[in-house]
């Protein structure tokens, strides 16, 4: 999260006036509302927030939030978001993806993101289908299921976003639910406050295509692991290594009881801190505002470099 906002500015509303074109009742609305509430709570000036999306129903969310937004390509939300944060570590960066966007076509970036630990938040809208292309199976659809939009039963085993997030090195891993706005908002606030790469996997019913993973399915099943005594915080590397398998155990639960909450919260070196090892001025100077020319003349001078080749 953004370390300090100085002077604290009063944010404008975090909602745009753009007409929302999700299906009535779609779980995406809950995520939008929770995100807006989370931003309101954190009071980060709108111009310092960047929200990226890939392509999909979910990935349209940037248009509805009154911050800087990048509506990118299918699968590339996370890749672009990390670059935004690297380019300007003063920004609060949030990336949104559908489960197809983030865990299918974008999963190479998912795995690689864990290696960097850029300080940002990644929200996966987990609905089991490819909503925008009319409901094909997404990577999280359980094996053997056949929502009404699909021609044939799903032959693939599902990706478990939490397990994969832990394996990839996300330092904050959580699950929440789009119809539990309070829990979701709180989870998003925690994710944004976390220093490092945070994953929030949100159970998000697609009311149009997925008639299996519905509100009726989730409501009786979801329970809060933190309320049942799980403490996700790892204070150092050895606690982290010790907690990972326990978090994995929890992430594997699925059936009559589905856990939600924060599974892992570990603070270690973030990418901006790491970059300072190579480029000492990184993060101290604001590269975006730093002039590169003066009356059109370059401020850099490569004479030294040229001499090194003579």
């Amino acid at each position: 999260m953004l370390s300090t906002v100085n002077p604290p500015a009063k944010p404008q509303s975090y909602k745009t006036n753009v007409e929302i074109d999700w299906c009535p009742g779609c779980g995406d609305f809950g995520i939008l509302n929770a995100l807006v509430l989370a931003l309101q709570e954190l009071k980060i000036p709108n111009e310092n927030v960047v929200l990226t999306g890939g392509i999909g129903c979910s990935s349209k969310i940037p248009h509805y939030v009154n911050v800087n937004t990048l509506h990118t390509l299918h699968g590339r939300s996370l890749a672009q978001a990390q670059a935004v944060k690297i380019a300007n570590p003063r920004l609060e960066v949030i990336s949104a993806s559908g489960d197809g966007d983030g865990l299918g076509i974008g999963s190479a970036h998912f795995v690689a993101a864990g290696r960097r630990n850029v300080d940002m938040t990644y929200i996966v809208f987990d609905n089991g289908v490819y909503g925008l292309t009319k409901g094909q199976a997404s990577p999280t659809l359980p094996y053997g299921e056949m929502p009404k939009s699909i021609e044939t039963e799903n032959l693939k085993f599902p990706v478990n976003p939490l397990f994969l997030g832990l394996a990839s090195g996300f330092t904050f891993v959580a699950r929440s639910y789009s119809y539990n706005i309070k829990h979701l908002k709180e989870t998003l606030v925690k994710a944004m406050k976390h220093r490092g790469l945070a994953l929030v996997d949100v159970m998000q019913p697609c009311v149009t295509y997925n008639n299996i993973n519905t509100k009726e399915f989730y409501d009786p099943r979801l329970y809060d692991i933190e309320k049942e005594g799980w403490n996700p915080v790892a204070n150092n590397e050895s606690e982290y290594k010790q907690k990972i398998p326990q978090a994995v155990v929890k992430s594997l639960e699925w059936g009559d009881r589905i856990p939600m909450g924060v599974f892992m919260d570990y603070q270690t070196e973030t990418y901006d801190q790491k970059l300072q090892k190579l480029v000492p001025a990184y993060g101290k100077k604001n590269y975006v505002m730093e002039p590169i020319e003066s009356s059109g003349k370059p401020l850099n001078d490569v004479t030294e470099l040229m001499d090194s080749f003579c």
């Binding site: 670059a83 380019a87 480029v279 000492p280």
Partner: protein
Amino acid sequence: MIHDLNLMVAGPQGSGINFTSDTFAKVMAREGYHVFTNAELFSTIKGEHSYFRVRVCKDMIRSYSERIDILIPLDAKSVMLHAKELSKDGSIIFEDSLEDPRHADIPYKEILQTVATKFGKALSELNVMKNTVALAGATKMIGLDKEKLKKVISENFASKPTIASMNNAIVDEVYSEFSPTRTFDLEPTTYKKRMFINSTHAVGMGKVEAGMKFQSYYPITPASDESNYLERVMERYDFVVEQTEDEIAAINMAVAAANTGLRSATSTSGPGFSLMVEALSYAGMTETPVVIFYYQRAGPATGMPTRHEQGDLKFALSAGHGEFPRVIIAPGDHKEAFYDTIEAFNIAEEYQLPVIVLLDKAMAMSNYTVDPFDLSKIRINRGKLVLSETNGYLRYKFEEDGVSPRSVPGIKGGLITIAGDEHDEDGHIFTEDADNRVKMMDKRMHKMESVLKAVNADTKVKFYGKPTNKKVIVSWGSSKGPILDVLDKLGEYSLLQIRMMEPFPVEEVMKFLKGKTIIAIEQNYTGQLADLLKEKTGLEVSSRIVKFNGRPFAFEEMVEVLSKSKLEKREVLTYA
């Protein structure tokens, strides 16, 4: 007295060919000579046969010669393969004795033993220094002051003083023990300070000078040499070089960093560029100023990764689905590569579009001497960048000139909405309105005309030779060098180097080509520039001289083909 000297170092990869030829080249460059090198290596790490050529001359040279004056084979296989290419007055420097009368008989073992003893080492520990024996043998045959060689060696091993001393002791021994029967009396020259570089250095320095702050890349031959060079200087000049998980991430990151307000670029070769084209289309749609450095190599697919080709012109021209503006600039030598790099960032930011700088393996891996760049005339133009508080801001506002003010995250009142779907002035995507679509397409495509109008003539084309010549060669990229070398010899040809491929400078090209006999010379199979020329101007070339065996043009084959009384419609060159 000879006008130019050609040295070849050949041997298994990893045996020090690179070190030997580079040191020799550097010494000669320090003397004030023009030096041109060419590297032919296998796409493997160690063991496969490779060879480097070094050509030295008091006049400017831009191509390699088939003639070899001094051959330094590092193994017996290289003797076998290359001795036949050695000129009859040439000399082979090889550790073992040879039947060949051209063999320069240097007492390797004795020299190494003397030095080993002196430094208290086993003879075997000096095995790796055999190349220094050869090197000193060569410079002695040229009559070079040994201290000059020793100076370069000392610099090379600056961090390992004992190694430096041992090598220099070898130089001393060679100079005292070896009396060459053949010598090479190179025309003298006067000293001038020159850099000995390849295009990856030129581009790298250009990026630093241009104020680039973010480069993302994924390793690939020959492009990653540039990124690795930048990694070496990023600490000093304050910018970020990010090695990504693949080329898709590389370009998406560069695009995002550009939209965050930094001058951003990525560098790649064919396979990587293929993975970038979706995001290239996105950059066009979102009006993102991003610069892509595209080092061509022999394709298709993995092709011949360490070999040369100019096979990707048409691909670069229409890569990416849908229609969007792009600018493509193809420098023809290292000097142009430096200035074009800076120009590319300027155009990208002024017109808010992707710019491709098209380079190739011959430029990336051929080191030669270049005058220091003139930094005084360089200008930076960031276009309509908004970096202070604003209001009523619309990222894609319709403006007279089609270019909207560009805000970035962090600017009060300047929230941006970037979208790869068709969008309205505010970047929102829910209109799909037919009229808005037409206006937005016009807005974006119109930039091509603006660029064409604004860019100066020299960036578009360069003309060499007598304007009255009836025969004009058209060419591009690194082919320019070998052609210019031949123009100096064959006065009847002129050369029109096309430098801006997109938007195509029809007017400038017509000015030089109308009514001429046109010959296209390119390093690809089909003659892609000739096709482009016909599409854009209707002009038909009378002959396509092509080469696609993975090796750049040799001076001699170029002379040979252009000396023909009648050129066929298609001439295939095959020197290797």
